[in-house]
Point group: C2
Chain length 217, copies 2
């Protein structure tokens, strides 16, 4: 399995540590919408996205979702191994935003590496810190921004990410990604459409006036 060599901390491992990773990692595939981590299936391990896109979120008691961040090819996540990070005392969920393939190093192996190898430990905390910034962005977004701004920002971000002005997402997905409800998304898209900012047709949102969306920010 050569994928393990892509792990950012690989070059800091000695031979027996490399062996440990090889023996305790595997590649798993998840279909769009599938739950990857969280809820019952607690401590998955350290994850690296090989292809596709994942979404990490928290859940309120009433089931409301707040998206924290999304990860694409090459991105790593350690929150899915939170059981080995004593500083992390909160639960997150991760699902497949689109079909994806993940390299997963088991929590046990990752925990023992981070105990014995300062570079792995440093990687673990560095990754958590990077996600911290994502979460602060999400938090300030939800707390302080009006919903029209959040939706405009997300459409522009998504268009930038895919390099296309067409966004193929359901209202439900948009709601999850902007920490809102489907009805609210539908209403706001209607307003954007009547303002000539977007065109909504057969489940595809086409950005007609990116400048106009930017002005909302």
């Amino acid at each position: 399995m050569e994928y393990t060599e892509r792990l950012p901390y690989w070059r800091h491992l000695n031979d027996s540590e490399k062996q440990l990773v090889r023996q305790h990692s595997n590649i798993r595939r998840y279909g769009r919408g599938e739950l990857i981590h969280g809820g019952g299936s607690d401590c998955l391990g350290q994850v690296m996205v090989l292809s596709g896109l994942t979404r990490t979120y928290v859940l309120s008691e009433e089931g409301r979702e707040v998206t924290l961040f999304r990860l694409g090819e090459g991105d790593c996540c350690v929150l899915s191994a939170s059981c080995v990070i004593t500083q992390i005392t909160f639960d997150t969920f991760m699902s497949a935003e689109m079909d994806c393939e993940l390299l997963i190093v088991s929590s046990g192996a990752f925990g023992s590496l981070s105990d014995s190898n300062i570079y792995v430990r440093c990687f673990m905390y560095e990754q958590a810190t990077a996600r911290f910034s994502d979460v602060m962005w999400a938090m300030q977004n939800v707390l302080f921004r009006r919903f029209d701004q959040r939706l405009a920002a997300f459409l522009l971000e998504e268009s930038g990410r895919t390099g296309s002005n067409e966004i193929r997402m359901t209202h439900e997905q948009l709601a999850q990604n902007t920490s809102s409800a489907r009805e609210v998304v539908a209403r706001m898209l209607k307003r954007f459409a009547s303002d000539g900012l977007v065109d909504v047709r057969r489940g595809v949102i086409r950005i007609l006036d990116a400048g106009g969306l930017e002005e909302l920010l």
Copy 2:
């Protein structure tokens, strides 16, 4: 200056690194309510609280404060040195919740230590990760909990922290610590008082029925 020896990473420093810390750290005193970090005075350095209590918060464009965490004696903070942590891309404010004394290692010295010394780098990310959990707690508190629960939780927490059932805080301070407004705090305290949970007199809130407050959580 012996205070530097209390730094958690002190024992991992070599002699010249110890020298660097001694030369580039100092002790500062702040009066209650004083701004310690944020706004104009950007990158203070790595902070260790020697005495007193600090409060870290974010500010909305309209000036609304959301408290992220508070730090007491012996606690460290690296967010006040965010300029040396490339993964941290958000701004926080820190103020003196009560008179306090801080040991401050300058950003320059801390940055050069974290570049050259893996243990300091690991400490830096570990500290940021620990604060990450505090922030998640604050975030879920604001997003998902009703205000009566937030206020009850804070009063109980504060009473536990001080070991007294009397809480000496203004409504303004309570509002800041529960991410609310002064008027909302006043109204809720009145309700708590009429329910026999607390007694409010001359700026002192006395918890009469801790069990009753706990039942709100």
